[in-house]
Amino acid sequence: MKSQPINNSLGIFPKSWSEEHAGRIPGNIPIWVGILSELTEFGIFFAAYFIAKFYYPETFAQGPQSLHTSLGVTNTIVLLSSSYFMAKAMSFIRVNNKIKCERYLWLALSCGVLYLIIKTWEFHWNTLQGFSANTNEFFTVYYYMTFNHFIHVGWASCAILWVIFRLRRGAYSSAEHSGLEALAVYWHMIDLMWILIFPLLYVLR
């Protein structure tokens, strides 16, 4: 039997999956294992949403009308802006402009913190309206999804702080910035998940 050619980096993938054949992997392989795991986790949340919506269509039609839509829209714009700032930070490290790179990382971090503040306010507002995870099936899915996403933004914001610290210590340059790029792709993944969560919970009736 003809043996399968393997990837040089891990030795477990076919050669067609290697960087020479499939193209460069942004960041590093471990962060992509993490990202694909997170996508699976959120995929289960989305599947739970569609199954629950199938069984409780009325509850899911009325649910979004109970939420503070303006806060949801604001958070979407804040996260999209954070992704933009992260992309700008990456463009500046590539030309070795560490000052501008750091500036954009701070802006991305500010957006992350702003998101957390707005989301906390939204949870508080829901409580004031008498809504909780036990209110109905819609709110169970809402808290399940958004609180999990909230935690992801929280720890990724901490990771931005760590990357800023490393940048200041001279760990990244135009030649070597895989750690910074790994954080950037992870941050974009979090933004992508919100792009899906927002219409499901706030827009679709």
Partner: protein
Amino acid sequence: MKHSIKLEYYLAALIVITLLNTFLGEKFSSTTLVSILIAITVTYKGFVVIDHFMELKGANKNLRFLMRLYFVIFPSLIIVSAFY
């Protein structure tokens, strides 16, 4: 800085689409057409972030395929759910 200008353009497009989606959801009862429009725009937003912010366009084609597939499957379910 052509790439940077492109990023600004994409950010503006993403924000406009978000506001348009919200307007559609708020002003119109959830018809099948509205759900289809929202699903298509979600796919577009996902593709923009994957290709231009995440920079997978021109990078690893398998990763790009998986990420884009995700933004085909779940928006498709939005369309399916409109027929519940």
